[in-house]
Symmetry: D2
Subunit: 353 residues, 4 copies
Amino acid sequence: MEKIRVGIIGAGGYGGCGAIELLHNHPYAKIEGLIARHDTGRAISDLYPHLKGFCDLPIAAPDDPDCPKDFDVVFFATPDGVGQEWAPEWLKKDIKVIDYSGDFRFNDPDFYSRYAARIGRDKPHASPWLLPQAVYGLPELHREDILRTNLVGNPGCFAVSCILGLVPALKSRLIAPPSIICDAKTGVSGAGKNPSPTFHYPARYDAMNAYKVSGHQHVLEVEKELSLVAGEEVTLTFTPHVVPLCRGILTTIYGQLMEGIGIAQVMEAYQVFYKDELFLRVFGPEVLQSTSHVRGSNFCNLWLNVDERTGKLVVVSHIDNLVKGQAGSAVQNMNIMFGFEEGAGLMRPGLFP
Amino acid sequence: MEKIRVGIIGAGGYGGCGAIELLHNHPYAKIEGLIARHDTGRAISDLYPHLKGFCDLPIAAPDDPDCPKDFDVVFFATPDGVGQEWAPEWLKKDIKVIDYSGDFRFNDPDFYSRYAARIGRDKPHASPWLLPQAVYGLPELHREDILRTNLVGNPGCFAVSCILGLVPALKSRLIAPPSIICDAKTGVSGAGKNPSPTFHYPARYDAMNAYKVSGHQHVLEVEKELSLVAGEEVTLTFTPHVVPLCRGILTTIYGQLMEGIGIAQVMEAYQVFYKDELFLRVFGPEVLQSTSHVRGSNFCNLWLNVDERTGKLVVVSHIDNLVKGQAGSAVQNMNIMFGFEEGAGLMRPGLFP
Amino acid sequence: MEKIRVGIIGAGGYGGCGAIELLHNHPYAKIEGLIARHDTGRAISDLYPHLKGFCDLPIAAPDDPDCPKDFDVVFFATPDGVGQEWAPEWLKKDIKVIDYSGDFRFNDPDFYSRYAARIGRDKPHASPWLLPQAVYGLPELHREDILRTNLVGNPGCFAVSCILGLVPALKSRLIAPPSIICDAKTGVSGAGKNPSPTFHYPARYDAMNAYKVSGHQHVLEVEKELSLVAGEEVTLTFTPHVVPLCRGILTTIYGQLMEGIGIAQVMEAYQVFYKDELFLRVFGPEVLQSTSHVRGSNFCNLWLNVDERTGKLVVVSHIDNLVKGQAGSAVQNMNIMFGFEEGAGLMRPGLFP
Amino acid sequence: MEKIRVGIIGAGGYGGCGAIELLHNHPYAKIEGLIARHDTGRAISDLYPHLKGFCDLPIAAPDDPDCPKDFDVVFFATPDGVGQEWAPEWLKKDIKVIDYSGDFRFNDPDFYSRYAARIGRDKPHASPWLLPQAVYGLPELHREDILRTNLVGNPGCFAVSCILGLVPALKSRLIAPPSIICDAKTGVSGAGKNPSPTFHYPARYDAMNAYKVSGHQHVLEVEKELSLVAGEEVTLTFTPHVVPLCRGILTTIYGQLMEGIGIAQVMEAYQVFYKDELFLRVFGPEVLQSTSHVRGSNFCNLWLNVDERTGKLVVVSHIDNLVKGQAGSAVQNMNIMFGFEEGAGLMRPGLFP
């Protein structure tokens, strides 16, 4: 079988790098072109020297006539606003699109506007007619739709950790939706590649902080997805934190258990819901989990606990924000869209220590 | 004025080291003796070379006849179970006692037994007759009692961060007690000095985890203190996490706001309650906080937020676990017990970066 | 082709874990048995949860009759002294042996005794008759011998970084052997899995130190190998340091250049010597290097510089101590011993960031 | 005694912050004014919140007429080029000047030009007439001159670590000057406050690198000072490295010992030379040292070793780059210039862990 041809737009950022790490030896896909606005003309392995010998393609400007364009799929590993501008011309050529940003996570322009407001973007969506066909790229919820679409909005990293940690509980009506609190801690790689005072090494060293208390943009897609699952409007409290490690999101999720629900029912609900999922691992209270168990891999590990004194469900959700939270999900979506086995190119355990 | 003489028992651990860092140039106190079971005969500055020239006292065994014993106060910088065994003989000689462990945080032997059970200790308290006179060493709540007692149970590090973050809200009845959730993140120094697989550098690197979900022992003193403040029994959900930094506890505290309470009332309640407190800093939503602002100092910084969508109070509480969470509190308690100005020896800003 | 069967002895340590990470999807080899003294009966993925689903074999005690023993090759991922005791019985059964320790790095029992003295081992070698056939497992120097032997002594991590950084310079007589200084910095993972006060997270945080100044055991194998290359006895100064990162050895190597030698000759010597090497990358002065470029991969990156003011060659050598410095070299040696392509199972770029 | 009035120019950087941490409770000095080009009008404690309550002065623009100017001394905590421009007008008003940069480290404009070339500065010195009176601010070498001058060029952080580690050896002719190699490792705080790709947290995490091999500017002041001590021209090899910790420089210094010199003579030379120095600690081979022993303090710890096999002196020099390597030295120089006891405001042990 001939490999499909993949183009990566925004190839110079961590999201592009992550995709290359996964695709350089993918059994059914090969990287054919790298496109970005910065560092054009340079080999990607100049920017990311660990890729030397694995991927040495040059970065082409978006309008470079020499850049190959006959892809089967393009990854928009770009910030908000880019995909909505340029996706139409790729789609027109029958090229599938997977976008990392919030541009295609919502089917409704009005809902998108609420999201846009949270990130300080005051323009309407540039391609609203595409939204109805866009699928939210969380395979565990929308596998069938991903298979049928040509446009996927890859989910936000925090959102992946929250949604996967909550869906079975809501599906099985184990908890009361208004009680949900998600307390998320992320490593610094989520900040992306561009330097800033907040992520300057000395300033961040030995330091942790909460931020965007009650205002983070990912909460909207979490609520949207969970509302669908719960069959009622879910509004939740979400607090992101940055801690000084590199890869990993740990989200501690709290919900008030319905009368009579204990750990046994919780375990069953999660095990049943995820029983066929390749990248979900469900653990009961006795097995302590850590983000190091998923570092570098596409897994989401869920650690289920019940606080009997207060009747709370406490789910601790662990992902690598750059893999299951970004490039890994994108590759998983690509696999589904093309009918490959879902784990192709993704079956690696990461590194320890 | 002659300086009071301080003895430190359990001097070889981080809690002893922290006390020495604060007391070596205290205006009214001097360290007269260091006592421990391990490393006897060695200078403390052999164990902690940064102290060389600041404190070079030898470590004496508890039964060493040459060790000075005529202290005015002893710090038990020891694990659970030591203070309750040995405090009586110091108190008999009219020497004040400040104990770092849970041994004297409770006035009631039965309540203590609940605590003991959580730390896997199945013996009854060794000196139950002392408990009624023991004062919980949180000056912001018990200053008057600390002034009058000769026996202080220094609070747990997590407990300090939770209690200080919640008291004004409960005092002013801003939140519903059953809704309280404390999500705490601690640096690794809380693990103390002894190596373990969990705190082995390679194993901990780039890793974070929750632990003792619903089972941490500090929750009991938090509930006890908050119940006193609230005038009703408070039971709360508490989840500790370890993140790979050295110093700092950040606790994110959630509570359901009473009808009609907004950020203005929250700000006022906290500002009024803490207006005369030397070591509390209260910040409104607009000023992002970080544990690096309190690293190395005795301050507790509270960042107040309201999530209007969900009606939640979100208080982010920041301390240095080894200072306000341990040795700093102990010195603050000592200052109060002896009538010194409360900040003596404690007015340092820490280091940045 | 049927895959060869690999057994790993000492499977519970980082060296065993590293081998499993590389072998779990090796095209020509499969892990058939894990043997260790500790944690017997437990699945390896209980100790290293990131391996769950990739390798879940149980750990068998060395004398466990149920443990499969019909391997084609065994890895002794064990500390000094184990391989020399137990290798004979595997070799007798015609099973190849790759030993991670210093047990088989020397062909001469007397030379071995010098090594043993440095690690505080005062017993003679347990299987001295095996030493003549043992090959020092650095493919870049001994590929032909590795191909023909059944017993490989895998090199020390520091030694790999020093030898690869120096061989071309000595081969081409660019520098004066007595002038050589190797200043090595290693991450903490080299400490292995067992906790110790020196590698306790809080004690190691924000701290770096030199150790074993002039006394590290790896210097002997460096001198032995370099003496062979130089055709004269090489004695060098070597100082190891520990810095608080996880993976990586950076060794800065200094040597006095022979009259008239400049960067051009240096570049040529290295490029020629390593021109067919899969895992060596040679860089000139203009391209700054970092250990992050080799983290997680089997590469050794050499950064060549000349200090014209002082006539010094300055080679900066970068490896991942757990891959090229340990398990990666072992797998590379295995590939050679069995006639596989040398990079089988090893062609991964690592992770960034 | 009235306290002297200190002004800090360039107050917003780490060097200004470090001075404030030391001066906020100095017994004989008080901070009267903070001057900088950026963040004018903001309180310094807005930039560095840990200073809140300790120093809340506003930052004034250099030309702000409301800014107090009647200082007794100004610290130029500024990058190269600022002090040479503005020092004259302060000196004219009889205000002493301590400059952190290379502007006043050399008495000779030509020598300065060599330095300027290394930092890419192609203009001649702006105030060359001041150079003869400028004193290199290393008290251990130039105490008498510092006492008599009104203009001090505070030494470079790497230079402090190298010079203090080498002076006694050269003074006592223990080593051959041409053989000297300084291999320096610094934490990231030396990068200063401004973000850059190289010090972006994710990019720097788990990474170390050498840089400016043979080209770092600090080597010139090291050579100048050591040449004075040795009575002959000293040219040395110097390689800086960055490792991912925050505070600390560890420099490993190598020199060929003269015939017949052993550890005893080395120990004696260093102990004698530094016997009256407040901030130097000299250790023999048996006591392993670490940068954590000097973190947060003004000490330089020297660990003396001899490699008998190769006849090399190996001195490991440890400082906190932001204290003895910068603000601490500046305060020490101020103390000397004003006749205060040299350790005033500087006698703190730092924090551990």
